[in-house]
Amino acid sequence: MLNYLIKRILWMIPMLIGISLISFFIMHLAPGDITSNESAFNPKASEESRQKLRELYNLDKPIIVQYGLWLKRIVQLDFGSSFASHQRPVLWEKKDENGNIKPGLIQKALPITLLINLLTILLIFSISILLGTIAAIKKNKIPDRVITLFVFVGFAIPGFWLALILMYSLGVVNQVLPISGLHSIGYEQMSKLGQILDLLKHLALPVFISCLSGLAGISLYVRNGMIEILNQDFIKTARAKGLYEKKVIFVHTLKNALLPLITILGLSIPGLIGGSVIAESIFAIPGMGKLFYDAVLMRDFPVVMGILTIGSILTLLGNLIADLAYAWADPRIRRGLAK
């Protein structure tokens, strides 16, 4: 078991180098660099000044040299600073000699994205398990049909459209929820509880929208898994020995039907740090999606590479955790590993 773990972790190193190499090259293959955006078409800005900037950021050097420089920094865990004119650090805040702190880009964007995604995953899983179970028990009856219809409509509705409709009906016509942003004006003066409530109010719509599209997949997993297991012999045995139906469903069936969800949960770990550009733009949430998207458009290489690196580390870790969790939950696999 320990050997397996060490092997898996060691394997991650060449994988990471490979991933970073490919993403670095692809990013640099795209035409343009930071200087083609900032003031690229301002007649007052001269080409010489842009060339100067290119030299400063080593953008005039061969790609392989640039990659080497980047790798050298990254092994010291230095993600560098953005190429944009604010020069903010990519990952974490930096203090200058006067004690002034420049906040890091990922540091500022990550918490809010994490919060939204955690809430979303939590909601998706709890609602899906509930819906899937009901659908499985009432297979091919009206509740099953209604649930299937509902989750598929939720999956098919364009999120941005529904978001705008909900913003209009709940934010403008009936002012129940805030329309966009993270905090109300006057947030600083609120009590701690008021602040949390205010934040949750602002997050209600974005979380609801991103939930809706995720319900279909998971609830069908649960439904089909349940149906398959309900048809197995050990369930018949359980029923035959006179167990309560509740116990049959929730203990014997659900527990087994949830096993594949562990893999899905593990695979959604890297997704935790990714945000939706469209949702973040509409709801004016300064999260990771918009940060990444803007960085790509700006050709802000340090930011793009920073996010990609963290994303790939999380993907590899997520896979590992999923495998381990599976082994922990399923004795059949655990024994296979031990051999």
Partner: protein, 542 residues
């Protein structure tokens, strides 16, 4: 589950219900000016860096402009007036400008403002280590000096007519705070100290920038106590915030202006709309180094074949104007004597045939067996895409085969514009206030990354542009640029399509906005705007 279904259905039903939240306040009620209150507006992007010479993005200059002053500024009719300078004189040979600076003024941190600050700023903007794209204008100053604490002298080797404009766009920075700092990555750029109406109060990254009045403001105290700029990237969301009363002001688009507002009277009770000439124009440009665009007849034929009025109506819903020179319509530099080329299919055909083109079996013009076909390139910009489609349609009608290609900005600039690998483009330039157009039209400006990428080359225009830069007498200068505008229009290296209006929606509770927008724009007298107490938002209740 039932609850969720119910919520979904409920919200859809409510969404179709048009009744507005009851807001019966009569915002038209007159009220006397009183200071205080907060104005909330929205921006689509976050400022990068509040030192404008480093930043280069429009969000940064918009915020920095409220915090910093230049030596000069534009008055309401777009003439110059003093900002940090009280007055200025230009020597008879046009080579020396002497600025008399305002005395007894202070930075927001109570340190006195002196000529040294101006000198310091000039040194910084011309310093090769400073990462500014704007240095070249100031490098023309051969010597800058302070005669005493309040007289700043800039000397040029040769007369430079746009000089005053350059001094109206350089924010003066405080030397005492920046002399030991690296201006490229100083913390000052996130927490600036200036001299203008407002000072930074609080900047919540990604969410909002809050300004408060600067007690040491050079021009006295503005009436609005606070200004909050929220960062909302999506224009529909901004619009909803506006009609919900959460923001007071935003730039709107033609659809909102001429479709949404006229059809909803309850919005007009709350919001005033303002229309002014915008700051840029859209054009259809040819790569003059490629055939057949080196042929004047072909360019003119295309110009006659394009219906500009149709484009203005289709793309801007009529909210724009045709232009004949690269200057704001109605301003001093516009050449009003130029005759417009208007839509005329027969003239277009005549010109094509004059150049030896004939219609082939597919109804496409061809010459020597080669059909007249090309590709229009533009970047991802809805208005430009729509414009390209309308042009394509008209050219198809006449017998020119046009395809359209829409490309992301960075690729567009680097793969096509810089390399000259394009045939025709739909793009825009700004309508500058100074008439100098050297960097766009002079034949020396054709290198990769320079702005005469269409390859325009006319010795007479070169001469005019050089002379225009040296001429400080406005009447003589006007003659030079009138001739320049005329030549450009006659030769049609680009076809001017339209200059769109800037459209602003301002909540009626903001009083003091001028009914008739001056040439300098609706925001020009912002410091006189106020919100009467009875209309102020209760900030705590939100």
């Amino acid at each position: 589950m039932h609850k969720f279904l119910a919520l979904l259905i409920l919200s859809l039903v409510v969404g179709c219900n048009n009744s507005q939240n009851l807001d019966n306040t009569n915002y038209d009620e007159p009220a006397l000016p009183e200071s205080g209150g907060a104005l909330t507006n929205a921006m689509i992007g976050e400022p990068n860096n509040l030192i404008a010479m480093i930043a280069g993005d429009s969000a940064s200059s918009a915020i920095a402009g409220q915090i910093f002053n230049s030596l000069l500024k534009y008055d309401e009719n777009l003439g110059f007036e003093g900002d940090l300078a009280d007055s200025w004189t230009i020597s008879d040979d046009y080579k020396k400008i002497t600025f008399n600076l305002k005395q007894d003024i202070k930075w927001a941190d109570d340190e006195p403002f002196t000529c040294e600050d101006v000198l310091f700023t000039w040194k910084k903007v011309t310093d090769p280590d400073t990462r500014t794209p704007y240095g070249s204008d100031y490098q023309l100053v051969s010597s800058a000096s302070c005669a005493n604490n309040h007289i700043f002298i800039a000397e040029y080797d040769e007369p430079y007519a746009p000089a005053l404009e350059t001094w109206a766009s350089l924010h003066i920075l405080p030397e005492h705070l920046l002399k030991d700092e690296n201006v490229n990555d100083t913390y000052f750029s996130l927490n600036p100290i200036g001299s203008n109406y407002y000072a930074l109060d609080e900047w919540t990254t990604g969410q909002q920038v809050k300004l408060k009045t600067n007690p040491n403001s050079v021009h006295g105290r503005p009436l609005l106590e606070k200004k909050i700029t929220r960062i909302i990237p999506d224009l529909s969301s901004q619009f909803m915030e506006l009609i919900a009363g959460n923001i007071d002001l935003m730039n709107i688009n033609p659809i909102q202006y001429s479709r949404v507002f006229p059809s909803r009277s309850e919005l007009n009770d709350k919001v005033n709309l303002y229309k002014e000439m915008g700051n840029g124009y859209t054009y259809f440009g040819f790569n003059l180094k490629k055939k057949p665009f080196d042929d004047l007849n072909i360019r003119k034929a295309i110009s006659y074949a394009i219906n500009k009025e149709e484009i203005i109506n289709g793309v801007l819903l009529g909210l724009g104007e045709e232009i004949t020179s690269p200057y704001k319509p109605g301003t001093y530099w516009e050449n009003k004597t130029i005759n417009k080329i208007s839509f005329d299919v027969s003239k277009s055909r005549e010109l094509l045939e004059k150049s030896g083109y004939e219609l082939n079996a597919n109804n496409i013009y061809e010459k020597d067996g080669k059909p007249l076909a090309f590709e229009i390139l533009t970047n991802q910009n809805k208005q430009r895409e729509m414009t390209a489609v309308l042009i394509q349609r008209r050219l198809q009608d006449i017998g020119i085969d046009v395809s359209i290609r829409v490309i992301e900005w960075a690729s567009f600039v680097n793969r096509f514009i810089k390399t000259g690998e394009f045939e025709a483009v739909v793009l825009g330039w700004s309508l500058s206030l100074d008439p100098d157009q050297y960097s766009i039209w002079h034949s020396s400006q054709q290198g990769p990354g320079q702005f005469n990428f269409i390859g325009y080359n006319n010795p007479r225009v070169d001469k005019l542009l050089e002379d225009g830069r040296k001429e400080l007498n406005n009447e003589k200068r006007k003659q030079i640029y009138d001739e320049f505008s005329k030549i450009i229009y006659d030769e049609q290296p680009i076809i001017y399509l339209y200059a769109g209006y800037g459209l602003t929606a301002i909540h009626k509770k903001i009083k003091g906005v001028k009914k008739i927008t001056p040439p300098a724009g609706v925001f020009h007298n912002e410091y006189e705007w106020y919100i009467p107490k009875k209309f102020r938002r209760n900030e705590m209740s939100l």
